[in-house]
């Protein structure tokens, strides 16, 4: 901390001492207001966070003695393909959970803003938001059935003459991850669309009027007006969806449990398996620490970017 341009310490102390008793009382009372929240946060979030880091440097089966492992657990994650694969799977999910819903959401929202005021718009807002209020587990179960061999997706494919493409999507080594991604698109597209749409309704219509007088096309308007002015909302969508992708657990757990093989295993699932079925607490914790660092490294720059440009 830089102290050079502050008052000398002695002055600060004498000021501290001369403060009235009442002022001290105020400070104590103020802190008492913050204390319960801080306490709950410290015990149930910060303490486990620190413990995660601690466990990650040990070998431990959860019952016996903990033995120091140094960075062995981290090395194992980087060396064992099935563990490292969970991280690459997480980033592949970002394409489905984040890139597609945000891009598609922008297009749909801008179309909707032009053509759907009134009743249709209000209905659409409610309907598109539905997947956002049901538990992710329910989304996973519903789609687990839709993507099954006799399910709706294959039925539609047969109907339009693509019978040769039908398969048990979630049980297919190549298709399981995109299929899980599809569930993510369903959950997040409506959310992104409604959020971006709400942002667009705040934009000044005069901007579009003058653009149209200048003969701007829909696409020019979209690139020159809508996207730049919605940077903050886009930033929010990207942040929310990227976190949903990297920290995915519920959907994957109920739809594929990480399979077939390790083709849909993501860090959240692997942490659960390592810790609670294989009793490898140290390794699970190292992966947990890597997950937390990953989320921070990806999300912080997005946040900063969208905040700065929104000013």
């Amino acid at each position: 901390m830089i102290t050079s341009n502050k008052r000398p310490a002695s002055l600060a102390i004498s000021r501290w001492v001369s403060r009235s008793k009442a002022a001290h009382r105020e400070i104590v009372i103020g802190w008492l207001f913050a204390l319960p929240a801080l306490l709950m946060y410290a015990v149930f979030v910060l303490l486990p966070f620190v413990l995660s880091i601690r466990y990650s440097f040990y070998r431990w089966n959860g019952i016996g003695d903990m033995t120091w492992a140094g960075i062995d657990n981290y090395r194992t994650i980087l060396e064992v393909p099935s563990l490292l694969g969970t991280i690459s799977n997480a980033f592949r999910l970002v394409v489905y959970f984040s890139f597609i819903p945000v891009t598609l959401g922008l297009v749909v929202a801008s179309v909707m803003q032009r053509v759907a005021p009134g009743r249709l718009g209000a209905t659409a807002r409610t309907v598109l938001f539905l997947p956002q209020v049901i538990p992710l587990v329910a989304a996973g179960i519903i789609w687990g059935w839709l993507l099954a061999l006799p399910g709706l997706i294959n039925q539609i494919l047969k109907l339009v003459g693509f019978e040769s493409y039908t398969r048990a999507w979630l049980g297919d080594f190549d298709w399981a991850l995109p299929a899980v991604g599809l569930i993510g698109i369903w959950v997040l597209l409506g959310f992104c669309t409604v959020l971006l749409w709400t942002g667009m309704t705040r934009l000044d219509p005069a901007l579009y009027e003058s653009a149209r007088i200048d003969g701007a096309s829909w696409f020019t308007e979209f690139i020159k007006i809508t996207v730049p002015l919605l940077k903050h909302e886009i930033g929010v969508c990207v942040t929310v969806t990227v976190i949903a992708a990297l920290a995915a657990f519920d959907i994957v757990y109920v739809s594929t449990a990480g399979g077939p093989g390790n083709s849909t295993a993501v860090p959240g699932i692997q942490i659960y398996i390592l810790a609670f079925t294989q009793q490898r607490i140290g390794l699970a914790s190292a992966l947990a620490v890597m997950l937390m660092v990953m989320v921070l490294v990806v999300v912080l720059p997005i946040q900063r970017l969208s905040r700065e440009t929104a000013q």
Partner: protein, 274 residues
């Protein structure tokens, strides 16, 4: 604004198409739920003999009354406590600006992006040592802690915008800090508290990982947590699984339809602030 007729209809078609894609999955599991238990129907086949009894059967095997009671208890424990302590902390940080409030805020903000999966393992051992593992407290207490970064951040944003003149006037009239909070600022904070309460209630009801890991007995979990167990038992009986899923999702859907305006705006604002 003048819009070409083709664009108007194209846009509407896109919208209706998108709504269909959103709803079709719900229709599919509803139709599947009406088929005889144990059969494997197609995705969109209307049953020749609708088995409404499946819902009764699922209601029994899912132990719905116990589940509803458990989830309601958990929500009623988590939400009011979280609301109370986060509002107080938001008041202290945003309005009283206690010494160290910047550091305190930074500490809370740190937790905003923390995935639950990152701390679930130590949480399990911590709760074993505390003796609360496998009780509803095992879900309630960590959820309160996990909501604090967002909730404090949310309430602080409200209090930081409250003019200090209000408080100064009350102080002149001899109000204590508590009186200031309780009689002046709490009534003014109703709207953000209501949104925050809705958000935390939905999040709690839908909470899965915490419930799955920290409580073994499905009837002591949240609704979403119990759904995971239900799937484990009835994975092969597709109509019954679909009926159970509908029953478990139904309370949320009913609440959403009743309070759609409030819930949409709360969820949207929630993500914009977080």
């Amino acid at each position: 604004m003048t819009i070409a007729r083709s664009e108007l209809w194209g846009g509407r078609a896109l919208l209706i198409g998108l709504m269909t894609i959103t709803i079709l999955p719900f229709i599919s599991i509803f139709m599947t739920a009406l088929h005889p238990s144990g059969t494997v129907p197609g995705g969109l086949d209307w049953p020749s003999d609708p088995q409404w009894g499946n819902f009764v059967e699922a209601f029994k095997v899912a132990e719905m009354p116990a589940l509803l009671a458990s989830s309601t208890f958990i929500v009623l424990a988590v939400v009011p406590i979280s609301l109370a302590i986060s509002t107080m902390a938001g008041f202290a940080i945003g309005h009283l600006r206690i010494p160290g409030s910047r550091m305190l805020l930074f500490l809370f903000v740190f937790g905003l992006t923390l995935p639950f999966g990152g701390i679930i393992v130590p949480l399990y051992y911590l709760e074993r040592d505390m003796g609360i593992y496998n009780t509803r407290l095992a879900i309630v207490l960590p959820l309160i802690g996990l909501y604090m970064p967002f909730a404090v951040f949310w309430m602080r944003a409200h209090f930081v915008n409250m003019p200090t003149e209000i408080s100064e006037a009350a102080r002149v009239d001899g109000a204590t800090t508590w009186g200031l909070f309780w009689r002046i600022h709490l009534p003014l904070a109703r709207a953000p508290m209501l949104s925050l309460g809705i958000l935390m209630a939905v999040w709690t009801w839908n909470q899965f990982l915490i419930a799955l890991v920290l409580v073994e007995d499905p009837t002591q979990r949240t609704m979403a947590g119990a759904l995971g167990a239900f799937q484990g038992h009835y994975a092969t009986d597709v109509p019954l699984l679909c009926a159970g899923t509908i029953l478990i999702v139904l309370p949320t859907l009913v609440l959403f339809i009743l309070f759609q305006r409030q819930m949409i705006s709360a969820l949207l604002q929630g993500s914009v602030k977080g």
